[in-house]
Structures are given as C-alpha cells and as structure tokens.
Amino acid sequence: MVAQTETESAKHYAPVRARRPTDFDLTLPALGLLALFFVLPVAMLLTRSVTEPVPGLGNYAELMGSSTYLRVFANTFMVSGLVTFVSLLIGFPVAWALAIMPSRLASVVFAILLLSMWTNLLARTYAWMVLLQRTGVINKMLIGVGLVDKPLPLVNNLTGVTIGMTYIMLPFIILPLYGVIRKIDPAILQAAALCGANRWQSLVLVLLPLAMPGMAAGALMVFVMSLGYFVTPALLGGTANMMLAELIAQFVQSLVNWGMGGAAALVLLVVTLALYAVQLRFFGTDRLGGS
C-alpha cells in the first residue's frame, strides 16, 4: 500500500522537469517575423542616413546645423508638450469624475471613450476639419451667438493641431489616471477636510500628489506618442508649425532624400526610446496600460 502511494506521488512529480510552453524557442517565429518586417527596414533606413549621398555623418550635421530643421524639432517638442498639458488639464477632472460617479454612468462614459479610440484616426481627424473650418459648425455657432464677428482661424494652425491631438490623446491620460484615482480611499480626503483643508488645499496637498504616478505615466505616454504623430498635424496643422514626422515624410516622399529622412527618423527614435527608458525606470511596465 505504502509502496504504491510512493510510486503514485513519484508519477505526480515527474512532469515538472518537462518542457514548459513558455520556452524561449517557441517565440522564434514571431521574433523572426518582427526582425524581417520591422527591424530590418528600420535598420536599412537608418543605415542610409550614414551612407547617402556620401558615407559619413553629413546628414546629421545638416539636420543639426540648419535653423529650419531645428525649428521643426523645437516645434515638435512644443506641440507635444502643449498637447500633454492640455490633455492633463482636461483628463484629470474627467478621470476624477469617472472615479466618483455611479458605476453605471461611468461605464457609459467609458464606452464613449473607447468607441472614440476604436474609430478610425483619419475619420476622426477629418471630422475635426469639418467642425473647425471657417464655415464649420463651431465658427457658425460662435458667430450666431454673437461672440465673434468673423470666423476664428481654428484649423491649419497650432490651435487645430492641439485640439485634434488632445482629443486623440485624452484616453491615454484618462485611463491610467482613473486607475490611480480609483485606488485613493475617499476617507483620506474626508480626513484632510476635518484637518482643516479646504477643497483647493485638499486638491493640491493630497489628491494631486497621490494621483501623481498616474499623471506622470499618462503624460509621458502622451508626450512620446505626440512626438511621432503624423496624420493629425499633417491635416489640421499649417506649414508654419511642421512636426518631425511631417519632415521625415517630406524628405522621403517629396524630396526623395532617404539619407536626411533616415537621419531625422533616428533622432526621433533616440528621443522616444530615451523617454520610454525614463518611463520604465520610474513607473515600470505594469503602469503603462493604466490600472
């Protein structure tokens, strides 16, 4: 009887040494696919930045030496920063409202948020073009109620880009922020109130510091995504404030200058990776997806 039990338990332990489905080699086909269709083309583009038209760092010198290109870099950072700031400004109250509203209502708001995220980017951007143009609904309404005399220039400029991109980026701020705010115990805010803190002091001294991890994670994500944004700035922006992705597209498509295009792409890639490293360093991978 005892012997039999032992062999049975031995049988139970035997499969532990078998191969697990998590073994690295099972990911090889996927990695191969990535290498062939993603890493290789990028590597080739980047290689061309140091080989065309002549081998060397000439492309980078031109990129960094020209005030025109530097202005594009500065503009890219400015627009990304502005979009991040406005997204935080709008996203924080929305995330807070989502966290405290009845869950039924919250799920409706979430559905709206997610539906907007799943709608085609191009369609959403064109929709903004229609809304923001000189004869668009917004300008007509403003003139109709007598707030302005002539149409405001809302599109093909910084305003248009900021509105369009903020709209697209909002969910990426709201979701991680919602996750963090949800975890704050309402009793902590009650305690702050009884300690004598008015609403403003509770917000600045308690709520904002506690929501900071979510705000930082969301802000970094939005900033990094904005840096490489192409469609919205191309459609809603003007020529005066070109962004880096537009410049790369122009190098490659209009000027057929693969060398300069590759160089600009590498600069964008390095900046993005650096910021991503900062994000990983401070918030870890688990915070990237929100809650």
């Binding site: 009793a187 009650q190 305690a191 702050a192 109130a193 009884l194 803190a197 008015n198 900071m212």
Partner: protein
Amino acid sequence: MSKPFLQIRGIRKEYGPVTAVHDVNLDVAQGEFLTFLGPSGSGKSTTLYILAGFENPTRGEILLNGETLLATPSHKRNIGMVFQRYTLFPHLSVGENIAFPLKVRRRPKAEIDARVRAMLKLVRLEGFEDRKPAQMSGGQQQRVALARALAYDPPVLLMDEPLSALDKKLREEIQHEIRRIHQQTEVTILYVTHDQEEALRLSDRIAVFSKGAIDQIGTGPELYANPATRFVAEFIGDSDFLPCNVVSAANGRAEIAICDSMTVSHVPLHGAASSGAKAALMLRPERLLLSRTQSEAGLPVTVSDITFLGNNVHVTTKTSKGNDLSVRLPFGHEAISGLNRGDAVWLRFDAAAAHVFGQ
C-alpha cells in the same frame, strides 16, 4: 452637567424611505468620554458623520458651546477625527502628517515643529517622524492618526471604530493609550464602537444605539445593573431571557410566574405590562445560584452542558419548558464538583438583580 458643552437636538437622518437616525437627543459635558455603542446599522456612525459634517441631518440641530455647528463646513468645524480605516496621507511622513492640519492653518514653522514633537511624545512615537505610514504597523498608524487629530487642539475628538482593524491584544494596548491620552489632554471624545467590552473599558458614559435611536444613556455599571430595554440588557453583559407571566404589577415592580412552578415578586419591571400579560425575565449567568438539593425557592432545571473557561465554569441548563439558562460559577466551586450532564439542579436568584421586560 450645569452647562452642556455639546448638544445634539432631535437629529434625524432619512435616506429616501429609510430612516437611519431617529430624533437623537444628547448632551455631552466638556472633557467627557462618551461612546456610541450599537450593532452595525444602528445609526451610531451616521450620527458621528453628521457631527463631522460629512452628512447633513434631515432635521435637528447640533450646538457646540451654544452655537450651531451645522452651518459650518467640515474643514472649518475644527473637529478632530480618527477613522476606522487608515487615513494617514501615504505620500507624507509621520511628522508631515501631524503637521498637515497646522500647515493648512498657516501656523508659524517653529510652532508647528514644537507641536509635532509634543504630539509624537503624547502618542509615544518619538523618533518616528521621518517614517512613511506604509512602514508602520496598523496600531502605530492609528496612534499617528490620533496625534494628527489632536495636533490643532480640537474641542471635540470623534473616533469611528478606530481599533476594529487591529487584533485583540493590540486593541487592548491602544485602549489603554486612548484612556491615558484622554486623561492627559482632557479633550471631549465621542467614540463609536460595536464592542461592549471596549465601550465599558473606555467610556465615562455609553449611549446604546438600536435601530437608529438611543435606547439608554448611562455609565457602564448603570446600564449593566439597570437596563432600560431588553436590547440594552442583551447588548451589555451576558444574559438569558425566560418567558414569564405577569401576576401583578405596581410601582415599577412585578410579581411574575415562571414555568408554571414558581412565582417571584418585587422584580424590577421595564416597559408596560398588565396582570396576565406575557413578559420576558432577564437573568445574568453570574447572578444565579446553583443548588444540588431541592428547595421551595429554586427553579428546577436539567444540566445540558458544562464548559470550562479557565477561572470560570459555564453551566448550561434547560428549564422544564425547554429554555436555556446559563450559570457562571468560579472554578472549583463546591456546587459543581462532580456535576454531570443530565443532573437535576435548582436555580435561585435575587429578585432585585433580575429584570422583567414587558412586550
């Protein structure tokens, strides 16, 4: 109580069709330790939250030093509170947490530093000011919360089951701390708990809450010796109830018949009961005398269980009508040596220590 310090006048709270608090009236003296005792849902926490300003009463008035409190928002009430859950600000150190109420009051830095040190000394956590709340035990966190709530010298300190998350041993330790701090600071404390032992240990007076209303207010011994309602009798101390018939009632005393075999006169009567009415007789296990020999004055019962509880022995008996009646005797008492289940014994009690509750 010559001049009431805190007056709660006819406070009522309705949530739609549900009335959570029924017209609560209460006077609290300055420096008093008053406990709201009751089961969950009895309205004790709601009353406390109305005092804190987190809830508005449907009607009623609260006066502090003769002035209404209800018109003042929470953050201007200057009331201290320790919550059931840990509510220290997790991003601030212990010192910064205690300084928080003083900082929002824009007190000078030197005063804040001195006050933080004094408060840490009061709760015996000197040297902990740079710790973060997450690095401290639950008991330590609640002591810091107490220090934070007392830092600005509030006239009233509210405590909403502050020890319910702690284990028994730690709870008793902090109960002692709270008692000492109350004596040291002489702050008026309103304390909410569902634990009668905690209420008895800490309070000057206890208000027993049941179904949104106060059943009785009094000191622990008063409530124990003279419960006004059956609920209070059940909630404070151990008790058993026997159905009985009222033979006659006059001047707050009743003559009753139990189990068809015995009549007792001069039992304190609570509530209305006319002759012939059914009522409930309350008996405390430690007030019953157990006798092995038959006697005229004894109620015949059968031993159904004997439990050894260290210094006490708990004997469960059954009356001829099948009601359980517990007797508690000190360990080694001669009446229980060699006692077995199924033995017939006789119980006697002093009529003055029993209570009849009309139905």
